[in-house]
């Protein structure tokens, strides 16, 4: 593994294509991952020189940008027109291409969805150097296969994204987050059940659960073992009304203790939440109704967790020092807890489409990348 592999910085899509063709000719591989160590036979493809806005017809509420544009830059451009791409990302320096290729989805996915709901067009270069397009620049379009969604979360294993078109949303008048504390998994789940049919329209239901052996429950903000962070947006009157309703929803649940500890914007909350998602952490995806039980059992095993309760997503980190050093052990604990449930356990570095052995996934990789230019493993 090598931090100092040669870096290529194409400035155009044609140069990306040329880089891929050169990789085939000279027998090396390409990665767009900016942080991971890479084997010696790799070159790093840095799209930092491809940051242009291609087209921003603001009144159409779409934007087309080159893939190397940082997410923070994109949001700053959109803000000038009171628009946003409502995908939360804790690192504004991450590129738009990486955001899509990694399918980063933060706190507001409960209310706003993910990249799947906003990406409407792409330009990309496959593993043979072919430049191809899919989708377009209109918000509704079913012509051709939906290669946009195929490339979302593909981790660069099929193609290098070079240009992306998104549909956009208006920025709401304000956003607001409040924290509620719970003493038990049972009361926490009761509140989640009540919130599932609330008359309010929360756009965020994040949570934290402290490990049972942790003396410091202040890590959950509420001072109680369980914290639920509810985010809403809209006018000031709307946000006020929604929290009045949400307090009722939570109060109707068993043993719920309301413990507001903070009042921040969703953006501030999302930026804080992202920091816990480290490469060694384990992600559990389940149906929302199982989340409290799984988090509770993990807490009993000494594992704290956090994530997106409304979407059934937990990020698990372990209070045991030895487990922190050995993510494999952490994974084993998670797999034992979720056994028999509708849930999957994954880790960022090892579980992604590049490693899928499903028939159609293998065929797709062979079709898009027949020379294995983008693959991190031997095939």
């Amino acid at each position: 593994m090598n931090h100092d592999v040669q870096s290529l910085s194409p400035a155009t899509t044609e140069e990306v294509s040329a880089a891929v063709k050169a990789a085939i000719t000279h027998g090396y591989r390409l990665a767009t991952n900016r942080t991971a160590d890479l084997p010696d036979n790799f070159r790093r493809l840095n799209l930092g020189a491809m940051q242009a806005t291609v087209d921003y017809p603001a009144r159409d509420m779409t934007i087309t940008v080159q893939a190397g544009m940082p997410v923070g830059t994109l949001q700053d451009i959109l803000k000038q027109e009171n628009q946003q791409l409502p995908i939360d990302c804790c690192d504004p320096s991450i590129s738009v291409g990486a955001l899509v290729a990694s399918d980063v989805a933060g706190s507001r996915q409960y209310g706003y969805g993910t990249a799947r709901d906003y990406l409407i067009g792409i330009e990309a270069v496959d593993g043979t150097g072919r430049v191809f397009h899919a989708g377009g620049r209109v918000v509704k379009n079913v012509a051709g296969y939906d290669l946009c969604r195929l490339l979302i979360g593909s981790r660069g294993s099929l193609a290098v994204l070079t240009q992306l078109t998104f549909k956009l949303k208006p920025i709401p008048e304000q956003t607001e987050v409040r924290a509620f504390g719970f003493r038990s998994a049972k009361s926490f789940e009761a509140a989640l059940t009540a919130l599932n049919t609330t008359k309010a329209a929360p756009v965020m239901l994040d949570f934290r659960c402290a490990a049972s052996n942790s003396a410091d429950t202040t890590t959950t903000e509420s001072g109680l073992p369980w914290s639920l962070f509810i985010g809403v947006d809209g006018s000031a009157e709307s946000c006020h009304w929604q929290f009045s309703q949400l307090r009722k929803d939570c109060a109707e649940a068993e043993e719920v203790v309301s413990a507001e500890t903070s009042r921040v914007s969703i953006e501030e909350h999302a930026a804080r939440c992202g920091s816990g998602w480290q490469p060694g952490d384990v992600i559990v995806r389940t149906v929302p109704s199982e989340l409290a039980a799984i988090a509770g059992e993990l807490a009993a095993e000494g594992c704290s967790s956090s994530g997106h309760a409304g979407n059934g997503i937990l990020c698990v980190s372990c209070d045991k020092p030895e487990a922190e050093q050995q993510s494999l052990e952490l994974r084993t604990i998670c797999e034992r807890v979720v056994a028999g449930r509708a849930a999957s356990v994954t880790q960022w570095g090892s579980d992604h489409p590049a490693h899928s052995t499903a028939l159609h996934s293998v065929r797709l990789r062979d079709t898009f990348d027949p020379h294995h230019v983008f693959t991190l493993t031997n095939r």
Binding site: D60, D117, V142, A143, D146, L147, A201, S238, V287
Partner: protein, 489 residues
């Protein structure tokens, strides 16, 4: 381009018929010419071809057995839902076996806590929402044909509908699919917890127009009902003012739940049919709905009313009762059914333009109507820029037919020129194959063909759909690609 079953001569042997009958039984197999005629086309009546046999499986096991039998005998097969496609999506291009999924109509599970349902492909779209009535949830995609179209068909075409402006199209509401691959394997992609760590194959599968396999089960999201609605009918004396209002609403950053336009021709037909009280002297109306929190909808409605009036609306009516709202939506969704009052035949197009180009494309459509002497009326999803110009004609007049084809081609070509697409929700099917060369580069189509081969390596499943398999381009399709078009009409 791939060598697909397009070029293969379909031969149905008695042995295959026996094998199919052994799978589904004689009562769920049709092979007499009279019965097969029902299946010669879908909602796109311009091209017709009878399948050689139609079978009605009731479960995944039967679907798999049918597919394996077709493979064994090298016979193409095509899945079919309710046949409401407006682009020839379930046309049996070279005959073969049609797999009709309308008897697979069970709602297998509704899980409100986790907000999903599992349905068989033949479940009628509206029946799922009816099954959810009183639960506080609904199934959001609401194509105008939702009283007839099936969810399997919606998956195939990535169907839309009026409320997709706010809630998204079918792909935004499908989290998993079970299908029988063209090679005969039962495969599940996605499910209640989404795609996991694999590619988003569900996202790729939705909208593949039946070319990736036969859907046998679908996991769909169910969506909470909004707490409140405000439904408005804005009445305009000019089409220009109407389109300006559309542009101003979207430009102001307001995203209504629905924003639909109907012009004078459609309004007249609807008034004849439903007696709603539409103003017959208006040039166009906008049906606008906002939904959400009770505390917020009045403010949004007022913003929209103000924008409409500032754009020249002579009147904006606010729906006063749920019954009035329901009737308004009934009128809108049955608009196509009312067309019969205007003309013996019609052809509906499905172009899309950037939303701010709606005024320009409507002017162009008016000029096309005049130039070709073909009456065109409009009812469409204005908020999405998704047009449905309806070309009215008499199919017994061959010259009118030809003018309709030319006019359609000009309209869709203009949509491409304005940066749009030739289909927003109906799909490419067979109708628009020749436009694919204009929308996409040769390389784009090669890549898509490679993806088709991943799922459908022998091209036996739904041959002749979506991707061009020959080099036709430009206007050739009007004369050459559809030789049966005139006779069929």
């Amino acid at each position: 381009m791939s060598a697909t079953a397009d070029s293969q001569q379909c031969v149905i042997t008695s042995e295959l018929l026996r094998e199919l009958a052994a799978v589904v039984g004689p009562k769920r197999l049709l092979d007499s010419q009279d019965e097969l005629l029902v299946y010669e086309c879908d909602g796109y009546i311009v091209e017709k071809n009878v399948p050689d046999v139609v079978v009605f499986p009731v479960n995944t096991v039967e679907v798999r057995a049918i597919v394996l039998a077709c493979n064994k005998h090298n016979v193409p097969f095509v899945p079919r839902g309710a046949g409401t496609s407006l682009a020839g999506g379930c046309l049996p291009v070279h005959g073969g076996v049609m797999i009709a999924l309308t008897k697979m109509r069970e709602i297998l599970e509704i899980n409100l806590r986790d907000r999903y349902a599992i349905v068989q492909p033949g479940v009628v779209n509206l029946n799922l929402t009816r099954a959810l009535a009183g639960s506080g949830f609904h199934y959001a995609p609401d194509p105008s044909s939702q009283g007839a179209c099936t969810i399997g068909g919606n998956v195939a075409t990535n169907s839309g509908g009026p409320h997709t402006l706010k809630y998204g199209v079918t792909v935004n509401h499908v989290i998993g699919v079970e299908f029988v691959s063209p090679e005969g394997e039962v495969t599940q992609i996605g499910g209640p917890i989404g795609r996991g760590s694999d590619f988003d194959l569900t996202g790729l599968f939705v909208g593949s127009e039946g070319t990736f396999g036969v859907v046998t089960k679908v996991w769909v999201k169910v969506t909470p009902n909004p707490a409140a609605y405000r439904t408005m009918l804005a009445i305009f004396d000019s089409v220009d003012d109407t389109t300006q209002a559309i542009s101003n609403i979207i430009g102001a950053g307001i995203v209504p739940a629905a924003l639909e336009m109907m012009d004078k021709g459609i309004v007249g037909a609807l008034e004849d049919a439903f007696h709603f009280g539409f103003p017959l002297d208006a040039e166009a109306v906008l049906l606008i709905e906002v939904d959400g929190l009770e505390v917020a909808v009045d403010h949004e409605a007022k913003q929209i009313i103000d924008l409409c009036k500032a754009s020249g609306a002579r009147e904006v009516r606010l729906s006063q009762t749920e019954a009035e709202r329901a009737l308004l939506w009934k009128c809108r969704k049955q608009a196509f059914g009312a067309i019969g009052r205007l003309s013996p035949s019609y052809c509906t197009q499905d172009g899309v333009v950037p939303r701010t180009k709606v005024p320009e494309i409507l002017k162009f459509i008016a000029s096309v109507s005049e130039r070709h002497d073909i009456r065109i009326v409009n009812v469409f999803h204005a908020g999405d820029g998704n047009l449905h110009p309806i070309l009215l004609f008499d199919e017994r007049d061959a010259r009118q037919v030809q003018r309709v084809m030319l006019a359609s081609d000009e309209i869709l070509s203009k949509c491409i020129e304005l940066g749009g697409s030739v289909t927003g929700e109906h799909g490419i099917g067979v109708e628009k194959i020749s436009f694919m060369n204009r929308l996409f580069t040769e390389t784009d189509l090669e890549v898509m063909d490679g993806v088709r081969r991943v799922f459908n390596p022998d091209g036996r499943c739904s041959p002749g759909k979506m991707l061009p398999t020959a080099g036709a381009c430009g206007m050739e399709h009007i004369e050459k690609s559809h030789p049966g078009r005139r006779a069929a009409m």
